[in-house]
């Protein structure tokens, strides 16, 4: 896997993390281009099916970005995302699958730096981990 570059599918909440990514961009902060951002209205709107489909189709990682707890535009969406993440990790571990390929992070609209750093860290982390086992598995 000499040419391995991690592919990350990112689900960014419209009100915080997407704006944070925007700030990182307009501030000309450098970060790896490995993440494909998808804007969603709320981290609480990210159903597990989207995360699973990305992973089973061969994404090396999935990033979910939401507002800090207490700051949700819809009051409690991120708290629900947090519970869903706990359930998701539990299911993955019960099946013997890596749950640490899915990252949930709170990044506000003001935290362009944190966004750039987090994506850099995740990309580096996945580079070390190597490609997902589902990448070449056509029989899923």
């Amino acid at each position: 896997m000499a040419n391995y570059e991690p592919k990350i599918v990112g689900f960014l909440c419209n009100w915080c993390t997407y704006a944070g990514a925007d700030l990182a961009g307009t501030s000309r902060m450098q970060y790896p281009p490995n993440m494909r951002p998808i804007r969603v209205m709320c981290s609480g709107a990210v159903d597990s099916v989207y995360v699973l489909r990305a992973l089973l189709e061969g994404a090396d990682g999935v990033f979910i970005g939401g507002c800090h707890p207490g700051d949700c535009h819809y009051v409690s969406g991120n708290y629900k995302a947090r519970r869903r993440m706990v359930l998701f990790s539990s299911v993955m571990q019960s099946l013997g699958l890596e749950s640490d390929r899915v990252w949930l992070r709170w990044i506000s609209a003001a935290e362009g730096r944190k966004f750039a750093d987090t994506i850099t860290e995740m990309t580096e982390n996945l580079r070390k981990k190597g490609p997902s086992a589902f990448k070449d598995k056509w029989e899923v």
Partner: protein, 372 residues
């Protein structure tokens, strides 16, 4: 209100039928949902309203074809002012009914939950042959309590079940740990249950120690068996390679979802247009990996179902019974759901007051999730 009910002629099933008859005749219930034998001798469920039709009712029938919570969801979507229906159901069915009430799929007002002990059941399909011509099979099964714990002919869900006694009920009919040829254990937990017991001749007493011990022993044996089964399962299922192989035979029929008592969506997301792909989309997916399994996205279906339903899964194992290619779903879902529910200190169907894990949250919990 609790105590023992006298059983005549070593026939506990007739004693329960007697209760049904009394409740129907006195219009305390309009109908009762109970296991019943068809004329051909097959095991089914029946909603009985005429006391004269009770001859076919078989409240102690040790066979299960559907988790009857699915039936309850069909018949109790809204309040019916004209009906009071008694649900004579097994522990896993009542636990699923509780989950459906919390999911707002079952309105409890017209219902009375009448539970019954369940030491395990056979699959309804083929039960006619197990029972043979023995008209007294149900009573014998209720009386011969030694083989409950390790009956390998029970449905797999039953072999792993640690809840032989219902957890939530208005009234429960118990026979495990009783001399059921002589007496049954009746226990009302609510006003609805007490109302049914009015005028029923009970010998008031506390729950017999022998019964408590029998229930605990059965539960402990099942837990040990579950642990051993999960160890076996892990050898065959853990990790991406084995997991794909475990589900390799899946036909994408979605039976497991259709029979699931807690899979409550009227239309499953996976049956929706989202998954109606045209040829171009299949080819696009194929191009990415060089090939793609057809029928497609079966593992996605199962893993998503686990994420959607594990918080409410009652581990009845009816999914495994309905699988045409015999994928071992009962043990798998037992493991996954137990682990998932543990995270939230939740047990499906344990209480009507505990909120559903994914429908609630606390601000000061899981503080590490979402932080580096």
């Amino acid at each position: 209100m609790k105590g023992t009910l006298k059983v005549d002629a070593k026939n506990p099933e007739a004693a329960i039928r007697g209760l049904f008859a009394k409740w129907l005749k006195e219009s305390r219930l309009t109908a009762v949902l109970t296991p019943a034998y068809s004329a051909a001798g097959t095991a089914t469920m029946a909603l009985v309203s005429n006391p004269e039709k009770l001859a076919e009712a078989a409240p102690l029938m040790p066979a299960m074809g559907v988790n009857s919570a699915s039936i309850v969801a069909e018949i109790a979507r809204e309040v019916s002012p004209n009906a009071k229906v008694g649900l004579f159901l097994r522990p896993c069915e009542l636990r699923a009914v509780v989950e459906l009430m919390k999911l707002k799929q079952v309105v409890p007002d017209s219902l009375v939950l009448i539970g019954v002990d369940c030491p395990g059941t056979y699959k309804a399909a083929g039960f006619r042959d197990v029972r043979g011509k023995d008209a007294d099979f149900d009573n014998k099964h209720a009386l011969e309590q030694a083989g409950y714990a390790d009956n390998v002919n029970f449905r797999m869900g039953c072999q792993l079940c640690e809840y032989p006694k219902p957890l939530v009920f208005d009234l429960n009919v118990g026979f495990i740990g009783m001399d059921a040829d002589k007496e049954l254990w009746l226990e009302a937990a609510t006003d609805k249950g007490k109302a049914l017991l009015e005028g029923v001749e009970l010998k008031a007493q506390d729950e017999p120690e022998k019964r408590k011990k029998a229930l605990e022993g059965l539960s402990a044996g099942r837990k040990a068996k579950t642990a051993a089964r999960i160890e076996e399962l892990d050898k065959a299922m853990l990790g991406p390679d084995k997991l794909v192989a475990y589900f390799a035979d899946c036909l994408n029929c979605h039976n497991c979802m259709k029979v699931c008592p807690v899979c409550y969506c009227r239309e499953c997301f996976f049956d929706s247009d989202t998954f109606q792909r045209d040829i171009g989309e299949h080819v696009r997916v194929s191009l990415r990996k060089g090939a793609t399994r057809m029928p497609s996205e079966t593992l996605l279906f199962h893993m998503t179902r686990m994420n959607h339903m594990m918080a409410s899964c009652v581990q009845c194992g009816i999914c495994e019974d309905s699988c045409p290619v015999t994928i071992g779903l009962a043990t798998l879902f037992k493991k996954v759901s137990q682990n998932a529910q543990k995270e939230f200190d939740y047990v499906s169907g344990r209480s009507l007051d505990e909120p559903l894990p994914l429908a609630t949250f606390r601000e000061s919990e899981f503080l590490k999730v979402g932080e580096e």
